[in-house]
């Protein structure tokens, strides 16, 4: 047990910190949550700069253009990015989900075609998993892929797709066997978003912004070579994607929470806090530390054994509820000013926006209810509720 960075880790952190300082454009620092719709040329340029410095796809193997770095480096990278309030590489779906899935299940041709442009941010990816009738219960997917004349014909609707309005490609979970139910008969496809019949419509969310989209597929032809994995084997491929979604995410979340708690403390110093509010600020600070050291425990286990420890499964659950508490407490500290929005509000409406956005935290990327089921069943060994 040694909670200090090793000399090598400290060197990596130091280099990274100065690199961010020198390269992060001021207008991109701390831009408000709705990053998914943030598509200025600055964002692509920032992503490209990350790639050129070797920070995109840190843990990707070098043969696919990554840096082949350890999970510890990835964790340090996510921490430092969050602390500097730097936006992530725009290709988050490609880097964290599509890319690793293609590495695990893709053909050599697919790896050669798709991986490099993800790193360089030339091609952005989106995810087509959830449907209006298949949310937490993903096995209820109904979007169909019918085989016809050497290609698939896709019909259906997907929802909650971040980046779909910018994406070149979509990782799409379909039902290829109309007689099948549940986990069988699913097929995983790569869909070119410029194919005729693909229609992307933004969803306006509680904040008034549009981060997510609906995607409609109407007779969309997808070549057979865009199949990922086996026909009917889509569930297994999808599980690889979701495993990566929850991978080292905890570090980005925890570091963002720590920034949020520090801003909360700054707000309290600025506007005052009564003893009960001070107690809650201390509580939130303590919990942010607890999350940080829980992530360190999980990471150390992952590095040592190659298997993530059970502690990791609670990261997102704890973060999401903490972020909701912190942002709501900030509104309380603002008093009547909490009712103001945008430029009329203190700090440009930062807290109002953050608080509303935080309601999505316990829903996106696995609802808290699903995550509690996972802890109960896979970690505690309780009988399955379904």
């Amino acid at each position: 047990m040694d909670l200090r960075d090793t000399a090598e880790e400290a060197a990596f952190r130091g280099e990274l910190r100065s690199w961010i300082e020198e390269n992060l454009p001021e207008e991109l620092q701390g831009h408000r949550g709705g990053g998914a719709r943030f598509d200025g040329p600055e964002m692509r340029a920032w992503s490209r700069a990350l790639h050129e410095a070797g920070y995109a796809g840190l843990t990707w193997p070098t043969e696919y253009g990554g840096s082949g770095a350890s999970y510890t480096h990835q964790a340090i990278f996510l921490e430092e990015m969050a602390r500097a309030e730097a936006p992530p590489h725009i290709g988050v779906i490609g880097l964290g989900m599509a890319g690793p899935t293609i590495m695990a299940h893709g053909s050599e041709e697919q790896k050669a075609r798709y991986l490099e442009p993800i790193l360089s941010a030339e091609e952005i990816w989106c995810q087509g998993f959830s449907e209006p009738g298949a949310g937490s219960d993903l096995a209820g997917v109904r979007t169909s892929a019918r085989q016809e004349n050497g290609h698939f014909v896709v019909d259906g609707q997907k929802v909650w797709s971040s980046f779909a309005h910018l994406a070149s490609f979509c990782i799409l979970l379909t039902r290829s066997n109309p007689q099948s139910t549940r986990h069988a008969g699913l097929t995983y496809l790569i869909v070119d978003m410029n194919t005729p019949g693909v229609d992307v419509r933004p969803l306006t969310q509680i904040t008034g912004e549009s981060e997510f989209n609906e995607i409609f597929f109407d007779g969309v032809e997808v070549p057979v070579e865009n199949l990922l994995g086996e026909i009917g084997g889509g569930w297994q491929v999808a599980m690889t994607t979701l495993l990566h979604e929850r991978g080292t995410l905890g570090f980005a979340l925890q570091a963002a929470l720590e920034v949020q708690v520090r801003k909360l403390a700054a707000l309290a110093r600025d506007r005052g806090a009564d003893p009960l509010q001070r107690d809650r600020i201390a509580r939130d600070w303590i919990e942010a530390q607890a999350l940080r050291f829980t992530n360190y425990r999980a990471l150390s286990k992952l590095v040592k054994t190659g298997m993530p420890g059970p502690e990791g499964s609670i990261s997102k659950l704890v973060w999401s509820e903490a972020n909701q508490r912190v942002t709501k407490l900030a509104l309380e500290l603002l008093g009547p000013d909490a009712a103001l929005a945008d430029e009329n509000a203190p700090y440009g409406g930062y807290w109002q926006h953050q608080q509303l956005r935080s309601r999505g935290n316990t829903i996106e990327a696995g609802t808290s209810e699903v995550l509690r089921n996972i802890v109960a069943e896979r970690v505690l060994g309780l009988p399955k509720s379904r």
């Binding site: 801003k263 059970p310 309780l382």
Partner: protein
């Protein structure tokens, strides 16, 4: 960065757990034979020369087993005040100690000798009368001392900060051991107890509170091990880490025990089941030294008040980029 226990530390935990399962009420001499009373004492003073992290492993397992004896009061509280010759006696199992730093003195029924905080230092208290008080947690008696004379001067009062950090960290870790045992009982019960034809763990009204209990416990362990490491390294963050860990872990242990009692239904409310003993230890820990809300007030002061208030928080504030 490595936040795992070494294979030797894991082995120590296993050994401790097995020993305490087989020996319900071990004597001080017996703990000395195992090397526990000298675990964090230097080798030249007859100890094992290990760190507070190893001692923490023992605090956790002793808490889990609801050990009754002067380990906490000797090792966590009194030890930093003891000169080398007295440390050697502790390591050899010849004496145990307690420290009177408040009106209620822990382990007063079993500790051989008493140290007392007075004026500018810590002294041995000679010839005092001891009165053992009845306590809710029968496994952790406290008492009051009356009369007596200050005897040998043991240490300057600057060791009080180390004592505070060790004590809070040890209590936090002990709370984790208590909570872990309570959660194990609750999980086992939810897996095996059947109602409406199914094991009750199938119902989310049961399984989700257990998932939350597990979550609280893991967060508590992370903070407690952080505090233990800071204490063992004499790190700058030790004061705030110990306060944060004790504030969180004590409350978590109380909550986990309450969930465990609820999940057990009627049997969890009986004297016969061990759960109430775990619960009472958790409540004892919460109340001893400093309550969670008192410790959070300290944390809040270090975060929010003018610097130089003895804060252990070493982070520089991050400016608000949105204008505040």
């Amino acid at each position: 960065m490595d936040f795992t226990f070494t294979p030797e530390q894991d082995a120590l935990r296993e050994e401790a757990r097995a020993f305490l399962a087989a020996n319900a009420d071990p004597s001080w001499k017996k703990l000395a034979e195992l090397g526990w009373t000298g675990v964090s004492i230097a080798e030249e003073d007859g100890g094992a020369g290990l760190t507070f992290v190893e001692e923490a492993v023992l605090h956790e397992e002793l808490g889990r087993a609801l050990y009754r004896g002067p380990f906490f009061s000797t090792m966590a509280a009194a030890l930093p005040a003891l000169p080398d010759d007295l440390k050697a006696e502790v390591a050899a199992g010849e004496t145990s100690w307690t420290l009177a730093f408040g009106p209620l003195v822990p382990d007063l029924d079993t500790a051989d000798r008493i140290a007392i905080v007075g004026g500018d230092g810590i002294y041995e208290l000679d010839g005092a009368e001891r009165e053992i008080l009845s306590t809710t947690d029968e496994t952790r008696p406290v008492g009051v001392v009356r009369g007596g004379e200050p005897g040998r001067r043991l240490a300057d009062s600057w060791v009080l900060e180390e004592i505070r950090n060790r004590t809070l960290a040890a209590l936090a870790i002990e709370a984790c051991g208590v909570a872990r045992r309570a959660l194990e009982y609750a999980i086992e019960h939810a897996q095996t107890r059947e109602q409406f034809g199914r094991p009750i763990g199938v119902y989310q009204a049961v399984s989700h509170p257990l998932a939350d209990a597990y979550t609280r416990l893991e967060l508590a362990r992370s903070l407690s091990y952080w505090a233990a490491w800071c204490v063992s390294e004499n790190d700058d963050q030790a004061p705030i880490a110990a306060a944060a860990a004790k504030a969180f872990a004590a409350e978590a242990a109380v909550q986990v025990c309450e969930t465990a009692i609820q999940v057990h239904g009627g049997i969890g409310f009986t004297w016969e089941h061990v759960l109430h003993r775990l619960y009472k230890r958790a409540l004892w820990i919460e109340s001893f030294a400093a309550s969670s809300s008192t410790l959070r007030a300290e944390v809040a002061a270090s975060l929010l008040d003018a610097t130089g208030s003895g804060s252990g928080v070493s982070q520089t504030p991050v400016p608000l980029t949105q204008g505040g």
